[in-house]
Amino acid sequence: MVSLLDIIGPVMVGPSSSHTAGACRIGLFARGLVGGQPDSAKVELHGSFARTGTGHGTDRAIAGGLLGFYPDDVRLRDSLELAEQAGMAITFTNVKLRGEHHPNTTRITVKRGGQQAVVIGSSIGAGRVLITNVDGFPVEVTGAFPSLVFVAQDVPGIVAAVTSALARTGENIASMRVSRRQKGGDAIHIYELDSPPSAETLDVLRAIPAVRTLRAIPRIA
């Protein structure tokens, strides 16, 4: 279903809903994966992002997202300079990512303290994005909801443990997805929630033995 406000909007810094607004949102998601401003970021631009990204401010938009700016923030224009002032080391490289990818795709590797995360995201039109890979796990996240992203040991009952914990703390799940690279290995869990998870919810989930690296990511769209 298409909403009026999908058509009249978003309010955004130009010049391109896909190359600027969408790119910014992928940067915001990468920031969320390390829980704040990265110390360093390696940004790899693929396809049309590599070809015409500079002229569309794709680099500035991604740097802005990593700094926590949303697509309507005028600071996007100066984000490369602001990143330098903030001490965030950022590099851009044009690449051809292996496998099937949307033409407007970037892979971002972020480091913060002892944490590292790698995200692949595509800007699929009108400022909407699709996160397709987190730390090597295939995923599908739009960022339209606050989300919980965590890696957990692939053991029986883990989904029930998480969903009952969420039910107990009063969180409503909008969508959920579990994906693993191999049986019995680790699996990535992504829960999109109707509202941002409470601190209590995060504590309860962290107490589940199989759950590792829990990250709460704000909505980016």
Partner: protein
């Protein structure tokens, strides 16, 4: 929202309300947001549009590549036979918003950033010559949104999928409905304005120099506004387009699906592939120092 403008007009006429009022009611019925929240979001869009027009008209902005800027201010001081009329004000406002967009300023994608000048161009250009309230402008934006939602479902709003007819063409169709709404026309007149406008943008290719949203995009927003004015004026005079509006929109989608990829935002054809287009793109892109491969 609706998937057919024909259905929307029928319902608006049964309920004896305008297209914009219908759009606001249906959006609230869909339940994601209350009517007040929807109106508030559209009011913010209107405020941002006004700000972008004012900013662009100052005339000092340059696009990221330096290729465009300053033409909105030139247009605002037009001295031709239509100077000081709605027509030149629409052109100036559309250019202004698109120049702001090209300079990484704040705009409202309507429906996209590349076509963002047409709707504010037409509405705010008309508003300079008519006593209109913000409530009327918000309802006009809702009418535009309804048209855009139907185009999104039946055809496309992406230049990469359907060429410029899907971006500035769709924006012009939306602006035509919004203009008729603002001027107090009927729902039937509004959708005939959409059909009369979009028949004039069918087949329009997306051929930006270097793939940047600059040339011809900035100018196409102005001419898109001019075509929308033609559609509005004809529909209000009682002109009725023989092909129903939904079929015109379907035609845009069909042309887009069969359009060669060179004409779909790849800078592989059209003005982008002219000798001058290639030369300018090369000079400007080199100047931008693209990242190493």
């Amino acid at each position: 929202m609706f998937e057919s403008l024909g259905e929307a007009v029928e319902r608006a006429e049964v309920e004896q309300i305008s297209l914009g009022e219908l759009a606001l009611r249906v959006e609230a019925e869909d339940g994601l947001r209350t009517r007040a929240e929807i109106e508030q979001a559209l009011q913010r869009a209107l405020d941002v549009m006004r700000g972008a027009v004012e900013r662009g008209l100052l005339g000092d902005l340059r696009s990221v590549s330096g290729l465009v800027g300053g033409d909105a201010a030139r247009m605002a001081h037009a001295s031709g036979p239509l100077a000081g009329t709605v027509f030149t004000d629409v052109l100036a406002a559309a250019l202004a918003v698109q120049e702001v967009n090209a300079a990484m300023g704040v705009i409202v994608a309507a429906p996209t950033a590349g076509g963002a000048g047409v709707l504010p161009g037409v509405l705010l250009g008309l508003a300079r010559h008519r006593p209109v309230t913000d409530d009327m402008l918000v309802r006009a934006l809702a009418a535009a949104g309804l048209v855009g939602a139907v185009v999104a479902v039946r055809a496309s709003l992406s230049g990469a999928e359907g060429g410029c007819q899907a971006e500035t063409g769709a924006a012009a169709g939306m602006a035509a409905a919004a203009g008729v709404e603002l001027l107090g026309g009927s729902p039937t007149e509004a959708v005939h304005a959409v059909a009369l406008t979009m028949q004039g943008t069918l087949g329009l290719v997306c051929d930006p120099l270097g793939g940047l949203v600059e040339v011809p995009c900035v100018y196409r927003n102005a001419t898109g506004g001019a075509i929308a004015l033609a559609g509005i004026e004809m529909a209000l005079a009682g002109v009725r387009f023989p092909i129903p509006v939904d079929e015109v929109i379907d035609t845009m989608g069909e042309i887009g699906r069969t359009m060669d990829v060179r004409y779909r935002e790849t800078a592989g054809g059209g003005l982008a592939a002219t000798p001058t287009g290639r030369r300018l793109a090369k000079e400007r892109l080199v100047q931008l120092k693209p990242h190493r491969s």
